[in-house]
């Protein structure tokens, strides 16, 4: 099942992480759940196509920091950011950093799934370019 897309979920809140895990599994994705950005970065490898759903406000490295780190490392991993406080500045920063979507918690499940699908499409496209 190498074609089953992978969605990485990063959220320091266990409840949010678990519920997202379930939601994405119910939608048919392979889910890798991490409690922090560092935990994700320590992952050895990631099956493609893949995308990332991360909280913005986390202890240690924030979602925006992660976005920047990934971009600097040259990894082309589409990201979806979500946050409880949706100030315009965060949203603009996320978009400027190349995030696919910025979602305001609590978000509609359909919005999340649509965003995930869009992110995965983008990763599939880059996979096609690379091959």
């Amino acid at each position: 099942m190498s074609s089953t897309p992978t969605v990485v979920v990063i959220d320091d809140d266990l409840s949010v992480r678990r519920s997202l895990d379930r939601l994405l599994v119910s939608a048919g994705y392979v889910v890798v759940a991490c409690s922090s950005a560092h935990e994700f970065l320590a992952l050895a490898s990631l099956a493609r196509p893949a995308c990332l759903v991360t909280d913005v406000r986390m202890p240690g490295m924030t979602g925006l920091d992660l976005l920047e780190t990934i971009r600097v490392r040259g990894r082309d991993l589409p990201m979806i950011l979500s946050s409880g406080d949706g100030d315009a500045a965060t949203s603009a920063q996320a978009r400027a950093g190349g995030a696919v979507r910025f979602l305001l918690k609590p978000f509609d499940s359909a919005d999340l799934l649509a965003a995930v699908e869009e992110a995965l499409d983008r990763d599939r496209a880059s996979l096609a370019r690379e091959s």
Partner: protein
């Protein structure tokens, strides 16, 4: 100020004064010689030299009197020795003449509040008493003794003639000479053409009358008082219109006329024996002079009192006007109007009000007013231009500069700026409040040649008034700031912080619940749902729900705990404090807030800030409710009282539109508001805060219109 008033004379000035005394002494003697009645021995109608010395001693500070004596002595010796008198007599006569001047000037200096002025009854009476009576009478005893012992002349005859002559001389010479010298030294203003015309007319009338009376032209035989009938009205004219100086000149002129006519053998006095005719003229003039001089002094005094009163009324009018400006005008306009009135009153070209600000209290121009001529000063950096002057003002001193020369050597910068700005006169007064310099007011005169007659006392009163206005404005700004701070805290900080925190902390469980529920639905829809899985999901949803409930409970606890330091509080004092906070708002909205406080102190237990916030909120609501009503209805009453159930009631009533139908039930819900700009948090917060105090808030519409809000809090024991 003339050099003479300052009390210290430079050597050059001393030399000039001595020369003037010598010259005057000589001229006075020559005049005396021309007025000698030939038949009456070597006695003159007037003998001015003694009075000249009197004048000198009045004008020159006591420490320089010796200069006057020294200057007069050679002239005296030259004249009298020339007249062929024995040296002993001449020397002794100089002593007796000087003793007359010393008694006259000393007496006047001792008893008069202003020895060189003769414009009050007191000053005139002192002058007449000391110079007109005491000095001639007393010195004549010594003079007669000299003549009697050394020349063998009859003692009382000499005494009589000399006394009579010297009384008239002192009366007629001293006032006009003193006033003349003073006016010359001070550069007195030019009299108006009208006044000069009047003086000329009076002089002509006197000359005519003198010829008629003393020339015997109008000789009504056997009616001795005839002369007085003609001269009296003219002397009255001089006294009423030209003061003591006028009387003095008239006496002098008349004496000349009398002497001239009598010397030429004309009537009426020429008919008397020579000495008697001389004394008759002297007595006649003296007797007329005494009361007229007193009358002139009295009239001057009354005139000045009237002018003073007029000036005081004008000044009080200014104070009233400024005070009214500060009450009736909005703060900015009140200072502008106030300075305009000050500027117009003092006829200044520029008036600036500087206020201290910042940590080290630097002064800067806050308000200003100017005439067209004062326009160049607008925007000038006075504090930088006049470092010395404003340094003194900041130390609490009042400064006055009429001309650049008023600055001391160390104020070179100030002096240069004074010239550069083209200032003529300036006064700067500190504005003191609570013993500290809070600002300064400066008055400037720019018109060339203008010498402002600014009264120091009036200036300082104006400064005091402005200082209190500044202090009041400062206090108002302070109150307004703290009120706004409190209001902002109530609206944004307190409730805003709460809602931000609520939103944040509730997001996570809500997101979890939503995702979990959605996942469960998808599993069920896909037919992949298993009971253990669904159970797990439901347990997570319940946990998240519990978490959300915990958040809300915690927030409520924080709200309840915040600043919670219960104290015994006087309900009336709470209302008073709130009254201070809203006072300026009430003025701005033209709302009358009436307080109906319980006569006895009533107490509640609670947090002062919380309860003041509740009251502030309710009273501000009430004021807003009436703000658009006609003025008579813009009334809010705040009542405090105890009810029968051991509670303290705060009842706030307005005459506004009242609450809309059905609004009462939603009243305390957050985000419900009838105000276009409100957040609808006020009453919700109020109820929450009152809950913590075991209190309640009740709103209703009054039967007579308007809303009535009743806050009830359990009363605390009066003697806690």
């Amino acid at each position: 100020m003339t050099p003479l008033d300052r009390g210290r004379l430079a050597p050059v000035q001393l030399a000039l004064a001595g020369a003037a005394v010598a010259l005057a002494y000589y001229v006075g003697a020559q005049i005396g010689f021309t007025l000698i009645f030939p038949a009456a021995g070597p006695t003159s109608l007037l003998w001015p030299p003694n009075s000249i010395v009197t004048v000198a001693l009045l004008l020159v500070p006591v420490r320089y009197w010796w200069v006057c004596f020294a200057a007069a002595l050679p002239v005296h010796l030259f004249l009298e020795l020339d007249a062929g008198m024995s040296p002993y007599v001449v020397a002794l006569l100089f002593v007796t003449n000087c003793s007359e001047a010393v008694i006259a000037a000393g007496g006047i200096r001792l008893f008069s509040d202003s020895p060189t002025e003769f414009d009050t009854l007191r000053r005139v009476v002192v002058f007449v008493g000391a110079a007109g009576l005491a000095a001639p009478i007393l010195s004549s005893f010594a003079d007669a003794a000299v003549f009697h012992l050394l020349e063998g002349r009859p003692y009382w005859d000499v005494w009589r003639v000399r006394t009579s002559s010297n009384i008239l001389t002192e009366l007629s010479v001293v006032p006009v000479a003193v006033l003349g010298v003073r006016a010359a030294l001070r550069g007195a203003p030019r009299p108006s053409a009208r006044r000069l015309g009047e003086a000329a007319l009076l002089a002509a009338a006197l000359a005519l009358a003198g010829v008629l009376v003393f020339g015997g032209v109008l000789d009504l035989r056997g009616v001795p008082p005839t002369p007085s009938v003609l001269l009296l009205p003219l002397f009255l004219w001089a006294a009423t219109r030209f003061g003591v100086g006028g009387v003095s000149v008239a006496l002098l002129g008349t004496a000349f006329a009398a002497a001239y006519e009598t010397q030429h053998g004309n009537r009426p006095f020429a008919a008397l024996p020579p000495v008697d005719s001389l004394i008759a003229v002297q007595m006649y003039l003296t007797v007329m002079g005494f009361p007229l001089m007193c009358l002139a002094g009295l009239l001057d005094e009354r005139r000045r009192a009237a002018a003073d009163l007029r000036e005081r009324l004008r000044f009080e009018g200014l104070l009233t006007t400024i005070a009214a400006d500060f009450v009736s005008q909005p703060p900015g306009a009140s200072f502008e109007r106030g300075l305009e009135h000050v500027g117009e009153f003092f006829d200044a070209d520029y008036v600036g009000l500087l206020q201290a600000s910042g940590a080290n209290g630097e002064l800067h121009v806050e308000w200003q007013w100017h005439q067209p001529s004062g326009a160049p000063l607008v925007g000038a950096k006075f504090v930088e231009a006049f470092p010395w002057a404003f340094g003194r003002v900041l130390a609490g001193e009042t400064l006055r500069a009429d001309g650049a020369s008023a600055f001391p050597p160390e104020a070179e910068v100030d002096r240069t700026a004074f010239r550069t700005f083209g200032l003529q006169s300036a006064a700067v007064l500190p504005l003191l409040a609570g013993g500290r310099v809070q600002g300064a007011v400066s008055l400037v005169m720019m018109r060339p040649g203008a010498r402002p007659q600014w009264d120091g006392q009036q200036l300082s009163l104006v400064a005091e008034l402005l200082a209190s206005a500044c202090a009041r404005r400062q206090a108002e700004l302070e109150v307004e700031r703290s009120r706004q701070k409190l209001a902002t805290m109530a609206r944004h900080s307190n409730m805003g912080e709460l809602t931000a925190s609520l939103a944040h902390q509730l997001n996570q469980p809500l997101t979890g619940i939503r995702n979990n529920a959605e996942a469960a639905r998808r599993f069920i829809d896909a037919g992949r749902a298993t009971l253990p899985q669904l159970r797990e999901i439901v347990v997570d949803i319940i946990d998240d729900d519990q978490r959300a409930a915990d958040v809300i409970r915690r927030v409520r606890e924080i709200l309840a705990r915040s600043e919670w330091a219960p104290r015994r509080l006087d309900a009336n004092a709470l209302v008073q404090d709130v009254g201070v906070l809203i006072a300026s708002d009430a003025v701005l909205r033209n709302v009358a807030v009436a307080y109906d406080s319980a006569p006895e102190p009533i107490f509640v237990t609670g947090n002062r800030i919380d309860l003041e916030q509740v009251l502030l909120n309710v009273v501000t609501n009430a004021m807003e409710a009436v703000a658009e009503r006609p003025v008579p209805q813009r009334v809010v009453t705040v009542q405090t009282r105890r009810d029968g159930d051991g509670r303290v009631l705060f009842v706030v009533r307005d005459r506004g539109a009242g609450f809309p139908e059905g609004f009462e039930s939603k009243m305390f819900e957050p985000f419900v508001t009838t105000k276009p700009t409100g957040m609808g948090m006020g009453l919700a917060v109020a109820r929450s805060l009152l809950d913590n105090h075991g209190g309640t808030i009740h709103v209703a519409n009054h039967a007579d219109g308007g809303a009535i809000v009743t806050i009830a809090i359990p009363a605390a024991e009066a003697s806690a």
